[in-house]
């Protein structure tokens, strides 16, 4: 799993080769983006098995349709859109993901020794995961793409095929719901 998004310039050469039929180039794109796409989809569908199916389906569709990728957005944004659409198709009518995500998101870099602090962080993480999981799908997706994945508003709105005003409104409501759920676990603001 890469922690940074590869640049669109890096993807561009691989995409061009893949569009020309180079399967190995597309496999390189899969290795680059699969874990991250899976992580996003998992938050949307809430089930690991289904998330993997959606991820596979998204890549298969991308491979079949890469000729139609115009290059007017970053490759992973186009890929996310395919994955999000597939996830939405499968979860239509569901209120919330069905499985707990808590045990699936571990921070291996967090090696701080203070047990009390670690306990507080774990509590906050659990509260956040639970709150995100409990959001309505139309609010969860903007929050996952913008606040967890760190995409820009424009990019996330485009992936979800929403106007920016609607996207911002849903994102704000989602943040307020999460804030209501986790405020007891938030660290003190040193500036206040």
């Amino acid at each position: 799993m890469s922690e940074q998004q590869p640049s669109s310039a890096d993807d561009g050469a691989l995409v061009a080769r893949a569009a020309a039929g180079d399967r190995l180039a597309f496999e390189a794109l899969v290795r680059r983006h699969a874990d991250r796409l899976y992580g996003v989809v998992l938050r949307l569908v809430g089930d690991r098995h289904e998330a993997e199916e959606v991820t596979q389906e998204a890549f298969l569709r991308a491979w079949r349709g890469i000729d139609s990728f115009k290059g007017d957005s970053r490759f992973f944004a186009w890929l996310y859109r395919i994955g999000v659409n597939e996830a939405n198709r499968r979860t239509a009518g569901r209120r919330a993901p069905v499985a707990s995500l808590d045990e699936q998101f571990v921070d291996p870099a967090d090696t701080r020794p203070q047990p009390d602090l670690r306990l507080e962080q774990d509590d906050l993480r659990r509260a956040l995961e639970h709150a995100v999981k409990g959001l309505r799908p139309e609010q969860r997706a903007p929050l996952v793409l913008r606040d967890i994945e760190g995409l820009s508003t424009a990019e996330a709105a485009a992936i979800l095929e929403l106007g920016e005003a609607v996207f911002k409104s849903r994102l704000h409501r989602a943040r307020l719901r999460v804030r209501d759920a986790v405020r007891d676990y938030l660290p003190e603001d040193p500036g206040r």
Binding site: M1, E3, A20, G21, D22, R23, L24, F26, E27, V30, R31, A34, D35, R36, Y38, G39, R48, E52, T55, Q56, F59, L60, W63, R64, Q104, F105, V106, D107, P108, A109, L124, R125, L128, E129, V132, L143, D147, I148, E149, G150, T153, K168, L171, H172, R175, L176, V178, R179, V182, R183, L186, P187, D189, G191, R192
Partner: protein, 94 residues
């Protein structure tokens, strides 16, 4: 807080509403300069709004930490590639 509210109650309420409804856009730097300034000024005279904005800011910061990957993700890419290799080659497949 009270002095501002008493001197200009209508403006205070407008800016209070603005802060509550646009706090996310404010934190994301997506307000125009005039609205940005109004929210900024309001949070200096309205402690509940200052707390509100601070809580949303900390919530967003905490959400960003969830991006850290999980070890169970390992192997997803390999399985996708296995499935891709079962696909018939595209027209110009090499």
């Amino acid at each position: 807080m009270m002095m501002g509210a008493l001197r200009h109650p209508a403006r205070f309420l407008r800016d209070h509403r603005l802060t509550r409804t646009r706090a996310s856009a404010y934190l994301d730097g997506e307000l125009g300069p005039e609205e940005q300034a109004r929210v900024e000024a309001h949070t200096h005279v309205c402690p509940p709004c200052a707390r509100f904005v601070a809580e949303v800011r900390r919530t967003v910061a905490a959400l960003g930490a969830l991006r850290v990957p999980a070890r169970p993700l390992a192997g997803v890419g390999d399985r996708v590639i296995d499935r891709l290799r079962e696909e018939p080659g595209r027209r110009r497949d090499r």
